[in-house]
Symmetry: C2
DNA sequence: CCGCTCTCGGTACCCGGTTATCGATTCTAC
DNA sequence: GTAGAATCGATAACCGGGTACCGAGAGCGG
């Protein structure tokens, strides 16, 4: 599955939640399509690939779509995950509700700042990063999120992988080097901002050249 | 330009920075290619599209690449931008150095929490969101970042657009409704985490089915 | 100086993602 | 009940991003 396709599924899910909150029970392929900038054809193929069946003149049942897309993404499970680096970004992540929405259960916070160790955020204690490996092994945690300075991320990632972590969600602006089989998902905030910069420049160029061409 | 292609350019840039710090002056298309999981052919076409010329048996000059890719993304400028919502996420963004890296200059912070108004973060004062429109109009600010609760984002976006903002970087988990011509770049953190969940599930399936097929 | 090798630049080809099309199905209206 | 409209499911056609290939030029070794 290509990244673009995966993103479409996640966007369907977001739109479905909104539709459901509006009291809708079904949705047509064209409705989903216009929001994504593709055709109804593409949407029907996406859904067909998940063995989701719709009904003519009625569309797809929203509840079915939600369950099947969620299953494919495996976001109905509660995989334990640890968060390392309880700075501003880390705290924002702890307090957000994205973990359960994405199939994770945030079970441990680690930092190496003595001022933070022992405090708690959203009911979870901040533990000393020194005991990180032991805790992760004992709890069998296989996923971790890195919200650390870029120059600390690689060393911490190495320790986590040694302790048994096999999937990393990385916010540091660095290309982590990990063994084969270890998944790294980089959340590159600055690339989102760069994309905005590019789109602004492109729009301004288009306006300057005139809308006729 | 497709999103995938744009992302490749940004990744080239990240890798170039690393190579430059290692003292390299040139780079070959194949070197850039392996990091991106594409062929040298694709990289050469990407660079050729920017009118970047390399030399046989030598590669491309890193300095040239950096300048031309940066120009295309327009990240060498300093577009003024305002940030609304100085919670944990907002504070992390203020303290990061992504703004200048992506062609922006963070010039104003807004919040509506009386406890925050008047304090300052990284030297910038937190202003009262009540005076947001006037300030943005007076300063001619055309970009803004939303780090707000989802249920407040639409209302604030409306006010910003009315005040002249034409590009939004949105962190709230909501599909903003804006007039045509206004750019919205959504930074959907939870989708990154969902993508991780999907990749973990896929890997585990692949392992279960055995590596032979 | 002369090949040899490496890498670029351009072109042709290919593949898979996207769209278009059409028959099949089901709901609505009268 | 029947006609008609709407929408699905499947298949075929299209298109553009990606790859393969080849000729050309630049450095290297002898
Ligand atoms: N990719 C981006 O665009 C982007 C944007 C914003 C932030 N970030 C990254 O996210 C990181 C976190 O941001 P922040 O604002 O929360 O930074 P921060 O400095 O507030 O927090 C970093 C935390 O990590 C802790 N830490 C440092 N070394 C550690 C170690 N070895 N083990 C355990 N904990 C350790 C520190 O004590 C601190 O609490 C930043 O360093 C930045 O690189 C990236
Ligand atoms: N998309 C994601 O996956 C994701 C992840 C984390 C956070 N977020 C979003 O980012 C938002 C910010 O996160 P946070 O942890 O900093 O939240 P927060 O609650 O700490 O901060 C929100 C800030 O916005 C301010 N605010 C509220 N209404 C306002 C208004 N009308 N005008 C001006 N300021 C206003 C509040 O005073 C507060 O300081 C969250 O609400 C969340 O939706 C999204």
């Amino acid at each position: 599955m290509h990244r673009e396709t995966l993103q479409r599924y996640m966007n369907y899910l977001l739109l479905l939640t909104k539709l459901k909150s509006e009291g809708r029970a079904t949705v047509t392929s064209d409705e989903l399509a216009v929001r994504e900038g593709v055709t109804g054809s593409r949407v029907r193929q996406d859904l067909s690939a998940l063995r989701i069946l719709g009904k003519p003149r009625q569309g797809y049942r929203i509840a079915d779509l939600e369950i099947l897309i969620s299953s494919m993404l495996d976001i109905l499970s509660a995989k334990p995950v640890a968060l390392v680096g309880i700075g501003n970004l880390g705290r924002a992540l702890v307090l957000s509700d994205i973990w359960s929405h994405a199939g994770f259960d945030l079970v441990a916070l680690f930092d190496n700042d003595p001022a933070l160790i022992g405090t708690s955020v959203a009911g979870l204690p901040v533990r000393d990063a020194a005991i990180m490996e032991r805790f992760i092994q004992e709890q069998g945690i296989e996923s971790a999120c890195l919200a650390l300075p870029a120059d600390k991320a690689q060393a911490v990632a190495d320790r986590l992988v040694d302790a048994g972590v096999r999937a990393l969600w990385n916010f540091a602006l660095i290309d982590l080097d990990v063994p084969a089989g270890i998944i790294v998902e980089n959340q590159r905030l600055e690339q989102g901002l760069m994309a905005l910069s590019f789109r602004i420049a492109k729009r301004n160029q288009d306006i300057a050249r005139g809308p006729q061409d």
